[in-house]
């Protein structure tokens, strides 16, 4: 049995002037639980692709393993659904040799902050030009409710049934602590407009755009963002012309704090939890070295390569 959806048999001929709509990016019916925050992220991503008119064949979604990592299967772009924790190196490889492609990475909190944490830190530092979405539901969803590095202290799971033993790792402060980090933002799946605006800003960023998405898992961590979803008073939006501004939220979300994303010290302070959930762009800096740009090499014709090779071999000639 296979999943329904895109059959390559049905893909039509290529049309240069074609305008892409959200439907063009949609593939198989998403199989997440009803009410899962991943659905909202998928929709927001499809909107961003439409807004940016990214040709599906020029767009690559790379993921690891987890509920969230099923993401590429539900899009009609190129996708690479790899192994747990290792999406970032694969994405780096794509980006390094194919600067013409738009690369997005989708990871879960176990994926990114636990098994793949080393890759995450180093990807932030390499700063390749791609978008990395962390779908953080504070739990291991796919493997059925184990404690994750971002599970709140005391949250019971199948591996820590008497409650998570440690305070959670804060992905924002980790990200903001990495040298050469160039874009760090946070948004929530229950605010589609903010989600869309943030992913859009990330996709326009030159460099590694890290977006932590607070993602509801009605299956295992229902309570996690419940308060904030019900009570906008528990949310604080970071606003700035260089960050994201979502005017339609103004009426309900009264806690708004101007924050210039150029200010790293302020970003680090704001990343520390202080009762409210802060959403917005914490930090953005486009003047940092971008690894794939730094490593770009001239493209050589076969004839040029052979001439160079023979010259090099001459140095080893007997």
């Amino acid at each position: 049995m296979t999943e329904p959806g895109c059959s390559l048999l049905s893909c039509g001929p290529v049309d240069e002037d074609r305008e892409w709509t959200m439907d063009d990016y949609a593939s198989a019916l998403a199989r997440w639980c009803p009410g899962c925050g991943d659905h909202a992220v998928l929709t927001a991503v499809e909107r961003v692709l439409e807004t940016e008119q990214l040709p599906p064949e020029q767009t690559v979604f790379v993921s690891g393993i987890g509920c969230s990592s099923r993401f590429p299967h539900y899009l009609r772009t190129y996708g690479f659904h790899g192994i747990h924790g290792r999406a970032l190196p694969v994405a780096m490889g794509v980006r390094l040799r194919r600067p013409d492609l738009h690369v997005f990475v989708v990871m879960g909190d176990g994926d990114c902050c636990s098994i793949g944490a080393g890759h995450w830190i180093h990807a932030m530092r390499y700063n390749p030009d791609l978008v990395a979405l962390l779908l953080d539901n504070g739990v291991y969803g796919l493997t059925k409710n184990q404690t994750s590095p971002t599970s709140p202290k005391g949250k019971a799971s199948n591996t820590q049934p008497r409650g998570a033993l440690l305070p959670p790792l804060n992905p924002l402060s980790v990200a903001l602590g990495v040298t050469n980090a160039s874009f760090v933002a946070q948004t929530g799946d229950w605010l589609p407009a903010h989600l869309y605006a943030t992913i859009l800003a990330a996709s326009r960023h030159r460099g590694f755009a890290f977006v932590r998405i607070l993602q509801r898992c009605p299956q295992y961590t229902t309570e996690l963002f419940e308060g904030a979803v019900r009570d906008p008073g528990l949310v604080e939006l970071l606003v700035h012309p260089d960050g994201v501004t979502v005017p339609e939220l103004d009426r309900i979300y009264k806690n708004q704090r101007p924050h210039d994303p150029a200010d790293l010290d302020a970003a680090r302070r704001l990343a520390e939890p202080e009762g409210k959930i802060r959403l917005g762009v914490f930090y953005r800096n486009e003047s940092l070295p971008v690894y794939d740009e730094t490593r770009r090499t001239p493209s050589r014709s076969a004839a040029e390569k052979l001439t160079l090779l023979n010259a090099e071999l001459d140095r080893y000639a007997v």
Binding site: L8, P13, L75, H81, A91, L96, R295
Partner: protein
């Protein structure tokens, strides 16, 4: 011990020893530069037309305590009038910078019984009584052999030119060797220029002065010279070590990405590549670990490039999960394993062939892929192009098993005639033809065409989950079994394209020795010597280990006994507790027994050094099937 010959005052009567081959060792404390001296001697000998094979003598630490046996650092260089294919048995001439490093070689039985030893003699009269005592003790131990010692005042001589002879004795030593073996000083100077002129012209001048000093001293004091005539050939040759050859081969194959994490003895290939790869449009990516390294290579491969990753045992172990993924998504990927001694950190700088079974079977589930092993420096050069082509044609993983012996050994070989056809084609980004599925397996052959991001109408999601032709996830028995069959079948198709391996020696006989990888030269030399003794021995060397080359069972059937010779562990059949059943065998022996049902025996050793032909010969004599001993 023969008494040290007194240094003669005027040019002595000279004997000229004309020999078909000679083996030299230069050993010093780590950091005194014996390696550089020996490397230049080896390269120049190759450039003068000799057959050459070198082996590094490497201490385990970067700066071990000086004047200890563990500090021994240097090279063995075997030169000949014929192509030299291995490091031989014993050194005939040694230049030793102190008696302790010499002891190290002596204790390893590395020196010929009548070896000539040029030794720095400052230690005999050193101010420090402990050093004098150590010298005397060492001389007593060494004196049990008939070595010929020639004391050389290296330190004293070098002090006439420089303040710190620790950094300069090596060029003096090179001067000695240059005189003894009549090496062309101009060619040596070119090599010195190659090494030092870029760094500083003054350094070059000093080194040349030291070289000439050593040369003069030898001329004035030594009573012998050695002549190893060159090979008469006008084929253009190149000389390099196996890692350089691999790196060259990668460029010649059109690879564009080498993704790696430093690990001995693989790293030097990436050092070499880092220097020149960008000129060719390539990149060496030093990843955060070996897992990331293969992930990056796989990503590049998904994006339409063929990439490779290079590592050694411990790093290959880390890559395991990604290897399985690469097999599952059927992306071309070349993985080079420059083997060292294992398990665990093992013997980082020493040779072993211990990764064969891990390379073939080390991945969970069924992960069919190609494993091949170069046997010479030349094959290190050529095998990357072969590997890349197979990887692309069959959308598969190809593992290349080199080892420390090939990686650091230097050998001249015919200059490869690099050709445009060796290079990878740029990815074809034309729209995908209607109806083509991402795994459009030919039902007979399991082969399919790769679809690459950027190709319109080709969009699909590659997945490590079990999948069908559309790359749609499916867990049903038919989907999973079909995928397994297709991934396996294409390797059977590939295997049918291989030729049966040639037999070295007679086509039939009493004993057939089977080897793989860097042991080729030592095995064939041992077999040739055995055949001269009248033993009916032949050998066969495998390049493809998975799938195995065809025709083996038939070839084996023509010999009374088949035995592998390998540098990996096996139980000695006569050891306590060891039985026919529980005996753990050499890795190739396991493989051949399983696939041919022939009772293949093995002779394997893990000495942390290349096998010596003389030792193999002893093993062959002892292994002749009963009743045919000549």
């Amino acid at each position: 011990m023969s008494t040290a010959s007194p240094a003669p005052s005027r040019p002595p009567e000279r004997t000229i020893l004309r020999v078909p081959e000679h083996t030299v060792e230069v050993v010093s404390d780590s950091g005194e530069g014996a390696q550089k001296c020996a490397q230049i001697f080896g390269r120049v000998s190759a450039r003068m037309g000799n057959g050459v094979w070198t082996v590094e003598i490497i201490p385990a630490e970067i700066q071990p305590p000086p004047r200890t046996p563990e500090s021994a650092s240097g090279n063995r260089i075997r030169i000949g009038t014929r192509p030299v294919t291995n490091w031989g048995d014993h050194a005939n001439l040694v230049v030793a910078f102190n008696e302790q490093v010499l002891l190290h070689r002596h204790r390893l039985e590395a020196l010929a019984k009548d070896a000539v030893i040029l030794i720095e003699d400052m230690w005999a009269t050193h101010d420090d009584p402990d050093i004098r005592r150590a010298w005397n003790d060492a001389m007593d131990e060494l004196g049990q052999r008939a070595y010929r010692f020639i004391p050389v005042p290296m330190e004293q001589q070098c002090l006439t030119l420089i303040d710190n002879p620790r950094r300069g004795k090596n060029m003096f030593a090179l001067g000695l060797l240059a005189w003894i073996y009549s090496r062309d000083l101009e060619k040596i100077k070119e090599q010195i220029a190659h090494e030092f002129r870029k760094k500083s012209p003054a350094l070059y001048d000093t080194n040349v002065a030291l070289l000439e000093l050593g040369h003069r001293w030898a001329e004035e004091h030594l009573d012998f010279r050695i002549e190893v005539p060159a090979i008469a050939s006008d084929r253009p040759m190149v000389v390099m070590n196996g890692n350089q050859a691999l790196a060259f081969g990668a460029i010649a194959s059109g690879m564009e990405l080498c993704s790696m994490y430093p690990i001995t003895p693989a790293t030097s290939a990436s050092h070499f590549l880092s220097d020149i790869f960008e000129k060719f449009g390539g990149v060496v990516h030093q990843a955060e670990d070996e897992i990331a390294a293969i992930g990056v290579a796989l990503g590049a491969s998904f994006a339409g490039k063929v990439a490779f990753t290079i590592s050694s045992g411990p790093g290959i172990a880390l890559k395991t999960e990604f290897i399985g993924l690469a097999v599952m998504v059927e992306l071309p990927l070349v993985i080079v394993d420059v083997q060292r001694g294992g398990p665990s950190t093992g013997l980082p700088t020493k040779v072993e062939q211990g990764d064969l079974l891990a390379a073939i079977f080390g991945q969970p589930g069924d992960a069919p892929h190609v494993v091949l092993a170069p046997a010479t420096m030349e094959e290190c050069f050529l095998c990357i192009t072969t590997a890349r082509r197979i990887a692309e044609a069959f959308r598969c993983v190809v593992m290349v098993l080199s080892d420390a012996n090939l990686a650091t050994g230097v050998q001249p070989f015919p200059r490869p005639a690099v050709d445009e056809h060796w290079l990878a084609q740029p990815p074809d980004l034309a729209p995908v033809r209607e109806g083509l599925r991402p795994y459009d397996w030919d039902p007979e052959m399991g082969t399919s065409r790769r679809v690459i991001p950027g190709q319109p109408a080709g969009m699909f999601t590659a997945t490590g989950l079990s999948h069908d032709e559309l790359s749609h996830v499916g867990y049903t028995p038919d989907v999973h079994e079909r995928g397994c069959v297709m991934r396996s079948r294409k390797l059977a198709v590939f295997q049918q394209m291989l030729k049966p391996p040639p037999v070295h020696g007679d086509d039939a006989g009493d004993l057939l020795v089977v080897g793989w990888g860097s042991t080729l030269g030592a095995i064939e030399e041992a077999v040739d010597r055995a055949r001269e003794e009248g033993l009916a021995v032949s050998s066969l060397h495998l390049r493809f280990l998975s799938p195995l080359e065809p025709g083996l069972k038939e070839i084996f059937g023509r010999f009374r006994k088949v035995m592998t010779v390998e540098i990996n562990y096996s139980d000695d059949p006569d050891a306590p507790f060891i039985t026919e059943e529980n005996r753990r065998r050499g890795q190739l022996a396991w493989l051949l027994r399983a696939s041919t049902l022939v009772d293949v025996d093995c002779w394997t050793r893990v000495p942390g050094e290349p096998l010596r032909p003389g030792k193999i010969l002893e093993a062959l004599r002892a292994s002749m099937p009963q009743g045919v001993q000549s």
